[in-house]
């Protein structure tokens, strides 16, 4: 190799390469290692939880409907220790009918009469500063008609209304409310054991903001022979709605808030009923649902679906007449894990009926609103313990006035049992109950008779999670 010139100048000489290389390697190793530690072990700092300062607020939606000559009430119960401001907005087919505001004191309930003379009538209960529960009660002026529903907490994409019968002597309305500020567009699919009807005028149906509608189901589908149940599904396309059902028959009236979705297990704390019980099961899925139904009574537990269970095909609704066990709640479970919706049609002692939709969840605290108008009647608490352990339950009764109603002593619910407790009244007026469970979770409902026992109504409680 030819001899090369040396680089002139000390300044440009490359000094101490070995030392530098080692130092550089150490630095690179440190950087890489620390980088890995920072990325994988330390990671970004988690976002701090917010520190909200305002009390809760929310809304409850009561698509109760009504009919000429009916009366309606909304009972708002405040189970908390703070006064809650409430705004009641009544909606109808022509829009907002009225807005009223009032306060509900701590541990108080307030009855407010609402319009219930049209199938489109619905009520929105907004609360500020605390959580309340609300139920809607409608009653016919003539004896024999009493119905109640728990008001729903939110709008959903789907609503299943399990009982809008249109058989002989029966008239039903699908009550859909849009208390929001955007127009809503939804489809209605009616389903019996034999037919599925998606009527043109209901596909889609457009509901203006702050309006509600009572869709006469009889105009679109009349139940024929072999069709024991008629269910409706409301499928939201745009906007938000809350749906319920209103059924009139010679025997009585029923209202029911829709069910927002399917589940694999339904708990229906039923009781204080007489006569036959009809379990309506809707399978909206694409495959068959195999079910078992267990009646959980105060003392016994019985498999009422028989050894082979019930089976509901895809996109099918079926009605099962279940063996009657007195004051027994029902546990309906899909043995093959397919989601479905279950509701129980009950009959009161006076022949009036009620539809009690089940709950997919259990909770440690339930707020149970009365299913009676202010004029009173008899009211029962039904508490179902679907768990495997005993549950201690305590009660706090909430009335409209001071002094508070007399309390109920603590009870124990054995596993897989349902107990019925008669609710006292406060000066003859119904009360709400805040039920707290210890040792497990339960489902709670209220069942009521009108004073003359001709009216019968049932509502599911509101889980306080």
């Amino acid at each position: 190799m030819a001899e090369m010139e040396p680089v002139e100048g000390e300044a440009h000489r490359l000094p101490g390469i070995r030392v530098r290389a080692v130092a550089l390697l150490v630095a690179v190793a440190f950087l890489t290692g620390s980088g890995l530690v920072l990325d994988r072990a330390v990671g970004p700092r988690g976002a701090a939880a917010g520190a909200p300062s305002a009390g809760p607020s929310g809304a409850l939606f009561c698509p109760h409907g009504g009919h000429s000559g009916w009366q309606g009430w909304v009972v708002v119960t405040n189970p908390g220790q703070r006064r809650v401001r409430v705004r009641l907005t009544q909606l109808g087919k022509d829009g907002t009918r009225s807005v009223s505001t009032f306060a509900v004191g701590a541990l108080r309930q307030v009855y407010r009469e609402v319009s219930a003379d049209d199938p489109a009538d619905a009520t929105q209960v907004e609360y500020f500063g605390g959580v309340v529960g609300a139920a809607a009660i409608v009653a016919t002026v003539a004896p024999g008609g009493l119905a109640a529903e728990r008001c729903e907490q939110a709008a959903h994409r789907n609503w299943f209304v399990m009982d809008v019968p249109t058989g002989a002597g029966q008239t039903s309305y699908l009550v859909v409310m849009n208390p929001f500020d955007e127009p809503a567009e939804f489809d209605v699919v009616l389903r019996t054991e034999k037919r599925v009807v998606a009527a043109g005028p209901l596909s889609p149906f457009v509901l203006a903001p702050r309006h509600s509608v009572g869709i006469p189901v009889n105009d679109f589908l009349l139940q024929g022979p072999g069709e024991e149940s008629l269910t409706a599904r409301v499928i939201q396309r745009m906007g938000r709605v809350v749906a319920g059902g209103l059924a009139l028959s010679i025997g009585g009236i029923r209202i029911e808030a829709g069910v927002p979705g399917a589940g694999t297990r339904w708990l229906i704390p039923a009781g204080a009923d007489v006569g036959a019980r009809h379990l309506v099961v809707l399978n909206d899925g694409a495959s068959r649902a195999d079910l078992s139904a267990v009646a959980e009574g105060p003392k016994v537990q019985r498999l009422v679906s028989g050894p082979e269970g019930f089976s509901v095909g895809p996109a099918e609704v079926k009605t099962f007449q279940t063996e009657r066990v007195k004051d027994a709640g029902l546990l309906v479970a899909a043995s093959n894990g397919r989601p479905m919706i279950a509701g129980l049609r009950l009959t009161g002692p006076g022949g009036d009926s009620a539809m009690l939709n089940g709950s997919t969840i259990t909770a440690g605290r339930w707020l149970v609103m009365p299913a009676l108008p202010m004029s009173g009647g008899r009211s029962f608490l039904l508490l179902q313990n679907p768990g495997r352990g005993r549950v201690e339950v305590s009660f706090r009764l909430i009335g409209s006035d001071r002094p508070p109603p007399a309390s109920i002593r603590q009870r124990t619910i054995p596993p897989g049992r349902t107990i019925r407790i008669t609710l006292p009244s406060q000066g003859g007026r119904p009360v709400s109950a805040l039920v707290s469970a210890r040792g497990g979770t339960i489902v709670a409902a209220a069942v009521s008779y009108s004073p003359d026992r001709t009216g019968y109504a049932a509502t599911l409680g509101l889980p306080m999670t």
């Binding site: 090369m4 990325d39 701090a48």
Partner: protein, 1052 residues
Amino acid sequence: MLCSTTLPRLLLIQLMAQLDTRAPRDPAHAGKVKPPSVLVVLVVKDGEAWLPQCLMGLARQTHPRIGVLAVDNGSDDRSPDLLETALGPGRVIRLSANAGFGSAIAVALGSERAQQADYALFLHDDTFLEPEAVAALVEAAERIEGVGVVGPKVLDWEQPQVLREIGLATDRFAYSYSPLEDGEIDQGQYDRIREVMYVSSCAMLVSRKTWARVGLPDERLASGRQDLDFCWRARLAGFRILMTPRAVARHLSAGFKGERAAPPGASVRRYDQERGALASILKNYGLLTLIWVLPLYLTQGLVRLLVLALFRRFQDAYQLLAAWGWNIAHLPGTLRRRVRAQAVRSLPDRAVRRAMAPTTIRLRRWAQSAGQALLPKREGAGEAEALSAPTRGFRFARDHPAATAWALGAVAAAFAYRHLPGVSPVQGGGLGAFPSSPSAFFAELVSGIRHTGLGGTTAASPALGLLGAGSVLALGNPTLLEKILLVALPAVAAIGCYRSVRAATDDPIPSVMAGACYGLCSAVLWAISQGRIPVLVFLAGLPWTAGKLVLPFDHLGAIRVRRWIVGAALGLAILGSFYLGAILAAVVVVVAVLIVPPTGARRVRGLVLVGVALALAALLAFPLTLEIARGSLRGMQDLAGEASFAALARLSLGPGPGSWVTGFFLPGAAGVALLFVSEQHHITALRAGVASVLSVYLAWLAAAGYLPAALSNPVAYVGVAGFSYSVLVGLGLASLLHGVGRTQFGLRQLGTALMAALLAVGLFGQLVQAGSASWDIGGPERVPVAYPLAGEAGGPPYRVLWVGSPEGDAFPPPGGLPTGTVAAGAASVRFAVTDPAGASALDIGRPDVGPGYARLRQSLVEVLAGETRHGGALLAAFGIRFVLAEPGDLPNPALRRLTRQVDLDLVSARGLTIFLNAKAVALASDIGDPAWSRAARSSRLEAVEALLTPRERPLVEGPSGQRFLGPGRSRPALVLLLDQFDPRWRLEPVVAKGSVEATRALGWATGFRTGPLPAGYRVHFGGQRARTMEIVILVLLWGVALWVTRRPVRHG
């Protein structure tokens, strides 16, 4: 040098004695045709040093009839004595003071001797005439018909082979133009008689008819401008102006070269030129021509004025203004002279313009200058002819790395920005919409109230003033400025880095490579992709800032302290006013200097100076600085950057071009450079290494949320890292390349090869990514198709809330950049509030601070982490009618929280998640609902969430946004301005006297509780005067700072 003051006086006198300096009176010659007589008017001023040579030249003239009349213009040296000795006292006119060339000529031509001459030869004392010169001049004048003025070929006094003048031209605006190149050698290429626009008065032969018809030179103008004006007038009068190469003169240009003692205030070349040009235009153009030339002249003059001001050439700008002022002051005299000039006109302007240079001549000149700057002459350039094309290309690249980089950069930019020219305007990323007119920038700057976000009185950034000026320069089109900035700023960043490395190494190739590395680094590409013009300004200014901040530690004796402080403050103020994070970057640089100081550094003094500069920078942005100091330092925060050490180490701040792993080339090459950097650069390299490592760690800590909000700016840190990497690459390359071809094969060659490979792969990868042009910014198609649902909803004015994942950066266009984050656990979001048009460039450099933003954060916490389901009501109190999110960007818990709000309605839309808030209140309204009045008094959110949509009456807004008109009403009501509270708002009844003071409403806004006001009322902002004063002070401060750091007058 020809001229010698030691020339023996006797010899000179003898020579002069030979001259026939008078017209012959011998009757014997009376019948013959006499040659024309020439009176040489020699104007002298302090010419002792060269005057003998000039006189010698005259003495040797071959023309038979020459007389010499010298006018001494008040010389302070021995020139008058010399003249009298050579010519005799009768031929010397001594003026007591310097009356100027024109006046001297006037005095001479008014003398008796002049009456007898056929021609006058105006001659400067620093001009030497070759013996045949006068004869040749006269010959040309006599032989060619219609000649009024003749000039010689002028050569350089000291280098006679160099051409100085062969006749001159002007452009339409009377700016001189010579066809000669600088230093052009006389090879006879111009040896023909040329008809020209004018010839220099250093040697100008003028016929008697000419001066008798057009008058004398305008004595008011400077000598260099009188000749143009005189020749122009002669031409108008129908005389021809010639240059004859047979007459040769050599001109010293003593004044220009500084060899003649300059009079006080002589640095007024631009003044003289402009004053003369405008005066000539006013005098010599016809009226019709003036109608179009004058506006054009003024337009280009204004642009030049602005450019000069922008580049801090205030003295030049002042001279320009002074020249215009002189012309205005002397307009009567100019008009009198115009009447005289136009009275003898015999040619139309178009005939004169034929002798003028084309208007584009200046552009060509500038291009030539730029070419010379880019392509400096190299030795041995001619050897390339025998080489193959690739070899020639390689050699060219080696010899002209900057030019090659420019060319490659231009090609890459053409690819990378190929979509930008066609779209108007650019949208997307973090780019705020530029206003339609430059005046909007200035209006917002001086406005006392903020027209964007949640309003309030947060002062606009001084950056708006610069953007406004830039928009004016961009033909009054801010959209064009936007594109120019996007294209030019990366190049400026690269040039800045190039200059920094060049200053350290004086080696162009490493400097170019460093510039390329910086200009193409992932951070710069990301900033382009996001349309982050403020970040690009910061990255472009960072090399300058870094270099500036090191100086007080390094060479304290070499800097002028006052100028340095003001200059650094000005730079920091400019960068900070565009991008507050620049201050953090400056701090990192200073910390790195403190850790690795220069040899013999004076840390304390350096720190003090930097501190003073920072304080002064704060003063230069003082209304904004006060707001930031008072409100929140959150303005320093930038939410860009993912907490990934690997990504930040390769300078990747987010998805988009530049985010490839090839970005590792830069830290890799910087590491290699550290290995090989020479002793000469090792301190600088070590400092750059420390700065880069420190920056990457800081960037990670900022992105991961471990630093306070005021320090959480990954972009600033990554910028410092990018610049430091690039400097390291430059220093390493400089060390490696030095002598790489002359040393034995070894580490130097291996290192060079490794660096070359890394840089080739990396830069190619970056170029490919840039060339893909997959920028986040683009045309209107970037705006989600559903946006008009929210952006063009109509009705009274409203606002739009943008939300998204806290890790994200910009919102979909036109949402712009987030204001900050809301901590709500898993439902945490980043957010921004804009008007329906989206983010605005008017918010550049201005932080979102004030009670409104705090209240909005609080409200969002309630919605996202609290138990409220009336979020719509909470947001309605901010005038927010729509909540927008990019599908997939919003965390599911947050989406659920928003969806469950009773009064927020999800609107079906494609490409955007839109929640409608029908409760939104107009931004300025009269609300009669007592519940609103009660809620306005309360600062609790519960008071707001129960509110219903009021039956409001929107106020009528005035054009400035500072004045509203309210309707008459008979009941008490709440007048609500959803602008951040400021007590300087006032409500005044139209009829009654007095005013209502503003109160804080809804915890943050401005409200007035009033009784019945049947005749209506006015609401106006009373703080504009204070803001105007602030702006005046700000302008003065900037003016002083710019003056202190002004650049010296540039000659030529």
